[in-house]
Amino acid sequence: MTIAAPRLTDASTAPQPAPLSGARLVVQALEREGVTHIFGYPGGAIMPVYDALPGSSLIHILVRHEQAAALAADAYGRVTGRPGVCLATSGPGATNLVTGIANAFLDSVPMVAITGQVATHLIGTDAFQEVDIFAITLPIVKHSFVIRDTADIPRVFAEAFDIARSGRPGPVLIDLPKDITIQSASVEPWTIPARATEPLDEQAIAAANALISRARAPLLYFGGGIAIARAEDALRSFARRTRMPSVGTLKGLGAIPTDDPAFLGMLGMHGSKAANIAIDNADLLICVGARFDDRATGKLDSFAPNAKVIHIDGDPAEIGKLRRPEVALAGDLNLILDALTAFPAKADPWRNQCAAQKEQWAQSYDAPGNGVYAPALLKTLSERAGDKAIFTCDVGQHQMWVAQHCRFTRPQAHLTSAGLGTMGYGIPAGMGALIAEPDATVITVSGDGSIMMNIQELATLRRYRLPLKILLLDNSQLGMVRQWQELFFDENFSEIDLSDNPDFAEVARSFGIEAFTVDHRSQVDGAIDRLLATSGPVLCHVRIDPRANVWPLVPPNKSNVEMMESRW
């Protein structure tokens, strides 16, 4: 693979007629990048930037905890494909961003995080609210800058946005010492390198087409890279013309509509039986924008044991990292998928087998009893919310139920903390999604453990009247931990009891949020009606069976075909 040398192009603006303060230059730089919204929280070292915000075109969303600013910016980035922007002060403001930055890093989300820093002459003196956020975040950013000269602000911001959104996206940190934002400077013209485009590897394309045409049991395995490359159309076109069954990762859901007849479901630890069995039986695996993550593969050396692999990814460093493919194709997923024109003519029996197994092992929703069965509730809610819905999740059992039982027609409809698994992602992500796509029906599905991690953001919903619909599935336990303790720790239940939770509906109402509670199956239809009909923010608190588990489940260090199953 060859990568052309970067070419310099003039991306500058005309020099400013008069010197401007660093803070004004920051605001101008953000406006130049087309930023409309910033999620942030002010404090000492970043005050000059806050002083420059009024009168600008930027809309600042004041969150109640910096972590929520980063997570909301993450969701904004996922929905729009443009970097979400978060802003915090030095010290604790900056460290509170860290989880959100890591979240964006692990899920390859474009983000620019801006932190205030103590004045240059105080750096390294253990000054008040000084931490080395640049060093703290080195392992979890795509790149980072400390600005040492006010005149560098426009260039650094332009570079930061370019880096954040190009190639495999990711978070970029800009640390701004206070004196740099106060001092004035004239803007000099600057250049940023143009991005090289990857030429198609024709030899590899030919090899891939040859494998496809010979395959008797080909399977398409796609992941979050599809959304990053905005390659949904190319993927769907490939799947249609090859009539190939497909499986998706947690982050890939929606890239092929979940109700597509040839889509077998999510693979992996909580994947569908049809998906995991198909992986096991496939003779050719075409992995597109996925990375053989351990949650997807289970025990790696028994994953797809009979399959040759074509690995297609935008990031060459992902290819061969965990599984050596027979054919490696790094580059633009759209171009590569369009070039794969072979048809697996001998695969009809396989197609029929996959379809039959999908039907045979389809989920049942007629759970016994009168309590609320969360999978059935989520399925109905998702069907009624329609294609304009965006689901944001917290982390735990409910997150897996959403992935298993909701329908998605685009990847941007499913915002989930896949890589980092951040409890507390749901509500801030809902805020970010609503800012990014105000016409969407945004639904946050949370659990009683997760919601407490960022419950203060109910105040932000109230302040901006963001019409987020929160579905809180409350089993008064840390359900996923409880499930693992039940199954793999001999029922030694340790620190999972949350039976002293507050009354969540009362809590929401105290923030000025409409709220109601249901605990009986007969109330579900009415609850969905009310949730979808409410014009402002609303919380539906649902009490569910604390013994409910997520099925299927692949035990740790087991092959995906060794999944544990139970109906309820």
Binding site: F134, L138, P139, H143, P316
Partner: protein, 85 residues
């Protein structure tokens, strides 16, 4: 016994550049056994003696991960004479 290898990274000098490279090498499962740096025209060249912590760590993948860093211009690897435990 996992053989130590040389890896040479040419990069644009800048704040955090060395920390990024060394941090990535260690984080990705390689033990750092030696380090030398030299100027190489407009670039700096960092030569690292590394050994994989387990058999699943592949130097060619580390090479690609280093190339992904902003400011890294080239990476080359070569076997080191002798071996280390």
């Amino acid at each position: 016994m996992i053989e130590a290898q040389h890896i040479t990274v040419r990069f644009a000098p800048g704040e955090g550049a060395i920390g990024r490279i060394v941090g990535l090498v260690e984080r990705r499962g390689f033990e750092l056994r030696g380090l030398a740096m030299a100027n190489d025209g407009p670039h700096a060249a960092l030569t690292l003696d590394v050994a994989a912590r387990d058999a699943g760590r592949k130097l060619d993948i580390l090479d690609l991960q280093l190339r992904r860093l902003i400011g890294v211009h080239s990476v080359s690897t070569s076997p080191k004479t002798g071996s280390a435990s």
